[in-house]
């Protein structure tokens, strides 16, 4: 028997509506009652959690681990270490690898690699369309049997609405949710930044808000038509929030996530052509940020994520047009969201923030995670909500350095990450 007692922490377990000072007991890798420690004389690991929050292990359901194919950007091992350092015990990796994760064998490869090298739980997704080309359906049923938790063409977006409809109907039969990167290719064209004041000033090709909203609307219609779950990834615009709010109020099976950078930054940040501010969808205007914050506050946007997108420095250090989209985020997102949502704007309390990182994604993906219920896997994150720290890019665990948050002063972070009862990261 191995046992751990996390003492005197504020245990916040939204799945069980629990928020109180208590000890948390782990026996043989699972959450347990105190009485489960049968032999009090054996070695028991004691962790002092006074002044800390003891939360279910956090889940980031939007991460790019880059393997197979792009190990120079990130590996499953380094990405998992970054997740642990950010307080995440479960991460969901996107299928836009090389080869694309669109066959059971690639899914098996990812799972084996994760089992051998990752210090946190890595859950793969599979592609909706073959080779993420948006032209024919991938083997959705076989992917589900191989163990994907969702299907998505993330980074790309199926433009053919009829094909998307068939994908949703088929996925309902198989029982996997659909995650969609919402981008209308015709409206967006070669856009690289939000279409608005700064794109006008800088002459950079604009990415209009309507390019996202058209697909959010499409997904609402298809979720309604097919009666199956569609999750809109990284939504960014006031219009998307409005559409989602209305659809959710009618009970349509549609959810959405918001990424850290889309509420921490606006398109003003692009004015020096720094490619660490280039992401897809792009940073938006202040009015959009305000709407996202309202959407978080009223529950329209129910999931927080990073869209962790590592790229090597030589890939990012090029002309703005030519640079790949995306930034890393696993190690900064909790601090940034805590600071902004809980400390600064007080849009939500810390229990809701934890819920958006645990219960909400676990329910969507139907995974056994995100709770401190007795018998659940002992995935636990210890959080110091008031700890002041500074982001130092060279100290991060990710294999890439593409973050605009270097040098940012933060309040709040994970200080210890426990996966299956074992501490995998400790500040």
């Amino acid at each position: 028997m191995s046992a751990t007692i996390i003492r005197n922490g504020r245990v916040i377990d939204p799945a069980n509506r629990r928020d109180k000072l208590a000890d948390l007991v782990i026996v043989d890798g699972r959450i347990a009652e105190k009485s489960a420690i049968r032999d009090p004389q054996s070695a028991i690991e004691e962790i002092d959690a006074s002044r800390l929050i003891v939360a279910p292990g956090l889940i980031d359901m939007h991460v790019h681990l880059r393997e197979p194919g792009f190990g120079h950007k990130e590996t499953i091992e380094s990405g998992a270490r970054a997740a642990a350092a950010g307080g995440f015990t479960t991460i969901v990796c996107m299928p836009n690898t090389s080869p694309v994760a669109d066959t059971p064998s690639t899914i098996a490869w990812i799972k084996e690699r994760a089992a051998a090298s990752a210090c946190v739980n890595v859950l793969p997704t599979g592609a909706i369309s073959k080779n993420i080309s948006g032209e024919e359906l991938g083997p959705i049923g076989s992917l589900a049997q191989a163990g994907v938790v969702a299907i998505t063409d993330d980074g790309h977006c199926i433009q053919n609405n009829e094909l998307m409809r068939r994908a949703v109907e088929y996925a309902r039969m198989v029982g996997v949710p659909i995650l969609d990167h919402c981008q209308d290719y015709n409206l967006v064209g070669n856009g690289v930044v939000h279409e608005g004041y700064w794109s006008t000033l800088l002459g950079l090709p604009g990415w209009p808000a309507a390019g996202e909203e058209a697909i959010v609307m499409r997904n609402i219609l298809l979720a309604d038509l097919c009666g199956h779950q569609i999750h809109c990834q990284h939504v960014t615009t006031a219009g998307s929030v409005r559409l989602l709010r209305e659809a959710r109020s009618r009970g349509v099976k549609i959810t959405a996530e918001v990424c850290t950078h889309h509420v921490q930054l606006t398109d003003e940040a692009i004015q020096n052509f720094d490619t660490n501010y280039k992401m897809n969808p792009p940073l938006r205007a202040q009015a959009d940020v305000d709407a996202l914050l309202e959407g978080i506050a009223d529950g329209t946007l129910s999931i927080l994520a990073s869209d962790h997108a590592p790229h090597a420095d030589f890939e990012k250090e090029v002309e703005f047009d030519a640079a790949p989209f995306g930034i890393i985020g696993l190690e900064t997102e909790l601090g940034l969201f805590l600071d902004l949502l809980v400390h600064k704007h007080r849009k939500i309390d810390i229990a809701r923030l934890i819920e958006m990182y645990t219960v909400e994604p676990a329910r969507l993906l139907k995974i056994n995670a995100g709770t401190l219920s007795i018998g659940a896997p002992a995935d636990v994150t210890l959080i110091d909500p008031d700890l002041k720290w500074t982001v130092k890019i060279d100290r991060l665990e990710s294999a890439s350095r593409n973050s605009p948050f270097d040098g940012w002063k933060m309040k709040g972070r994970a200080v210890r990450t426990i996966v299956g009862g074992k501490t995998v990261w400790n500040l």
């Binding site: 064209g189 608005g196 004041y197 006008t200 000033l201 800088l202 002459g203 950079l204 090709p205 020096n272 052509f273 030589f314 250090e317 090029v318 002309e319 703005f320 047009d321 030519a322």
Partner: protein, 310 residues
């Protein structure tokens, strides 16, 4: 005298103060005078190496910079996209660092990506001069436009300058807007709503889609080239319709005040954005722009090249 110029790079007019713009225009006066001498060459940049690095094709701007550099006694090499290692997959940064390793002092960059000159300016010790980046800025073109207006009308503040055409994709328009607004001109943009979005009003200018209402009170009209090569077809229904709605035809030219200047950055599409006879008429200062462009570029190379090596 206090230092009135302290920049190694000329990246755009948005970052310059009115005082800095005026200082370039004053410096241009001196270099324009050089062009009228029998010996048109001065030793200001003797021993310096200038690289014309044109990743996007250009003839007139490159030639103008080349001639300006010759007249300042600099050594000049020209590199185009097809002759550079960029076609072999080398990054812009590596190509530029290689040029710097050969002791290039001034890099004149033309590039299809907005921000490319900033990117190099931040990474090189050499002086970087923006010769046009995407749809962002073309500062020497705007400076020569400002110089020409000042030369012909004696001032810029208070004049009403009308810029007509494809504003959305135009770096010439953006640099002109920044410069003219800083120097106190009133600016109106005219063109189809798809190419002149209302968003431009936030830059401190007026937007109109009715050219006949605007022309009678213009002091300067600057016609931009309708860029077939840059533009997706669906931005307007066709060249004929463009000319009917926005071309400076002979009929429309009659609406202009007699002392209104007609400008064009070239190359002209005769019969499209401007009638052929109007382009060659008495109000046209199109060739003066070309001559002034040489003097402006000498001034810019002299000012920035001098900073880069001190």
């Amino acid at each position: 005298m206090t230092t009135r110029w302290s920049r190694k790079d000329l990246l755009g007019l948005r970052e310059l103060s009115a005082e800095e713009i005026n200082f370039i225009l004053e410096t241009t006066d001196a270099f324009k005078q050089v062009g009228t001498r029998e010996i048109k060459k001065v030793p200001a940049l003797r021993g310096k190496t200038l690289v014309n690095f044109f990743v996007e094709p250009s003839t007139r701007t490159r030639t103008s910079f080349e001639l300006a550099a010759f007249r300042l006694s600099a050594d000049v090499i020209n590199i185009s996209a097809t002759t550079s290692s960029l076609t072999k997959g080398e990054t812009l940064k590596d190509t530029a660092r290689n040029l710097e390793a050969l002791h290039a002092d001034v890099l004149v960059l033309r590039h299809s990506s907005a921000g490319a000159p900033q990117f190099l300016g931040n990474r090189l010790k050499a002086s970087v001069i923006n010769a046009g980046d995407g749809a962002h800025e073309h500062p020497t073109q705007a400076l020569l436009d400002l110089y020409t207006i000042r030369e012909k009308r004696g001032k810029i503040a208070g004049l009403h300058v009308v810029i007509i055409g494809d504003i959305l994709f135009s770096r010439v328009a953006r640099s002109n807007i920044f410069g003219l607004v800083k120097l106190g001109a009133r600016v109106t943009l005219v063109g189809p709503s798809t190419l002149v979005p209302r968003e431009f009003e936030k830059l401190g200018v007026e937007v109109s889609h009715k050219i006949d209402d605007v022309l009678p009170n213009a002091d300067v009209v600057n016609l931009l080239r309708i860029q077939h090569e840059r533009q997706r077809e669906e931005y307007f229904p066709g060249i004929d319709e463009y000319t009917r709605f926005f071309g400076l035809t002979k009929e429309r030219a009659k609406l202009l005040k007699p002392d209104c200047l007609i400008m064009h950055p070239g190359p002209i599409n005769r019969g499209v954005e401007i009638d052929s006879e109007v382009a060659d008429g008495l109000q046209s200062v199109i060739l003066d722009q070309v001559t002034n462009g040489l003097a402006v570029r000498m001034a810019v190379l002299y000012l920035c090249g001098g900073i880069a090596t001190t």
